[in-house]
């Protein structure tokens, strides 16, 4: 921990009023990055180069907050310009088109696919699972999950896990990253992953 990273990296955490941000803020700070927490796009500092979007709770709530706080176009333009966006948990799910959880709600459609309910009697999935990943940053690491819904396999999937069905635990398309698990709660592996992905 406490790696000294390039002073050029500044991470903005998007506060969608969807869960406590303390752990993710701590993780970003301890990784040595400049950090700010923003509710609205106009609050973004000019020198921010990484957007991090955590999300807990329902798909529709997070999707609605993205619209209510004015993020939709900003996020689409940001990713369109090749800049880095990292979605965590429901923050990853809204990168896709829609969700079985809230059929009317619109995701960002930055990735194609729809979120499905996990078919397992114990819901939500809570706990640690080993990632099946070809990425050295995640290969055979244990990650902490809290979710009832997930993305089925995607062409941009970088890590897979089985809970009733096989689902996508992580995705990456160029500078767009998604993690269904909680890296900020996944011990030293998760903290190193946050540092690595923000810095890359």
């Amino acid at each position: 921990m406490n790696q000294v990273n390039s002073p050029k990296t500044k991470v903005a955490i998007i506060d969608l009023d969807s869960g406590n941000l303390l752990s993710i803020q701590t993780a970003v700070e301890q990784a040595g990055f400049e950090m700010q927490t923003v509710q609205k796009p106009e609050q973004l500092d000019d020198d921010v180069n990484v957007l991090l979007m955590p999300g807990q709770g329902r798909f529709a709530f997070v999707a609605d907050q993205i619209d209510a706080l004015g993020w939709r176009k900003v996020l689409l333009d940001w990713v369109g310009a090749g800049r880095k966006l990292i979605g965590i948990c429901v923050g990853m799910q809204v990168l896709f088109e829609s969700s079985e959880e809230d059929p009317g709600a619109e995701g960002l459609s930055l990735l194609s696919g729809s979120i499905k309910r996990l078919r397992h009697p114990k819901a939500p999935m809570v706990g640690w699972a080993k990632l099946n990943s070809y990425k050295l940053s995640m290969q055979d690491q244990y990650a902490y999950f809290v979710n009832s819904y997930a993305v089925p396999d995607s062409e941009y999937c970088t890590a897979k896990v089985v809970y009733g069905d096989l689902f996508c635990a992580a995705v990456q398309k160029n500078n767009l990253y998604g993690f269904q698990f909680h890296p900020e709660k996944s011990g030293s592996f998760g903290r190193e992953l946050i540092a690595y992905v923000c810095e890359q």
Binding site: N20, S23, P121, V126, G127, F145
Partner: protein
């Protein structure tokens, strides 16, 4: 009773990559970890953050903090501790003790807790389980069920740290806890607690693999084989205190033993 996913076949085996969790439990009073559950003669065991970090480094999957003096204590010390833990741990943690209202719960979540644990308050006011589940999600609430077996072999529920018999039927209470949206049941078999004769594996087995919430086994762990037995009997997680605090085993020792007995754990 299957409140969730009732379209699933309860006789089927569902694939899962989830692994059993090992959870050290810390008793806290006035912001310090203490030994002994009586109000008199509490022995100071140290700083909760330092001890929790030690267990995290040993490989703990989660930590539970029970504030045993919360009911007579100024709640601020508990909230300060939760904030300190949240900014120093990188694994999930639950807090319990003295929670009575949704307002108490809000304070603990705002301070950074991942989950709350209820026992007496859940029995006295079961609607609180539903309130928390609706507001924060099932994953945020663990209901501690203290169960004792009498001479006739009947199971009964206890509250107030195991001192008072509750006026609820065992099975009806388990069903209600699930229906109201608890994400996990922390099951303490009082007739096994402190006996050093292991967990109550028959009781754990009675839940079955497709029980709709996770079951954490608590009470009775004397050594590593007890962890193996509890997990084989179906526990999703095992919570223990004494054998870790006394330094008899590290979390790493327990996990090593589990791995050697073909139980997958996170190392």
């Amino acid at each position: 009773m299957f409140a969730n996913n009732n379209m699933l076949d309860k006789n089927k085996t569902y694939a899962s990559d989830l692994i059993p969790r090992i959870i050290p439990c810390l008793d806290v009073a006035l912001g310090r970890v203490v030994k002994g559950v009586n109000f008199k003669g509490l022995v100071d065991m140290g700083d909760p953050v330092e001890l929790a970090k030690k267990y995290e480094e040993q490989g703990a999957d989660e930590i539970v903090f029970l504030d045993i003096k919360a009911s007579v204590d100024n709640q601020q010390s508990a909230l300060d501790m939760v904030y300190q833990v949240a900014t120093h741990l990188s694994i999930p943690f639950a807090v319990g003790g003295g929670i009575k209202t949704i307002n108490d719960v809000d304070k603990f979540f705002n301070a950074g807790a991942d989950k709350v644990t209820l026992n007496t308050a859940a029995v006295q006011n079961p609607a609180l389980i539903s309130q928390i589940s609706t507001k924060y999600g099932s994953q945020s609430i663990v209901v501690a069920v203290d169960v004792n077996k009498n001479d006739e072999g009947e199971l009964a529920i206890y509250t107030h740290g195991g001192s008072q018999l509750a006026d609820v039927n065992y099975q009806a209470w388990i069903d209600e806890v699930v229906d109201r949206g608890a994400g996990e049941i922390l099951l303490t078999a009082m007739h096994k607690d402190g006996t050093g004769s292991g967990f109550d594996c028959d009781l754990l087995q009675s839940f079955g693999a497709n029980f709709p919430v996770q079951v954490i086994a608590s009470g009775g762990a004397k050594g590593p084989q007890d962890f193996v037995d509890a997990i084989v009997a179906g526990a999703d997680a095992v919570l223990a205190a004494g054998l870790f605090h006394r330094g008899e085993y590290t979390v790493g020792d327990i996990k090593e033993y589990l791995l050697n007995n073909n139980v997958k754990v996170r190392k």
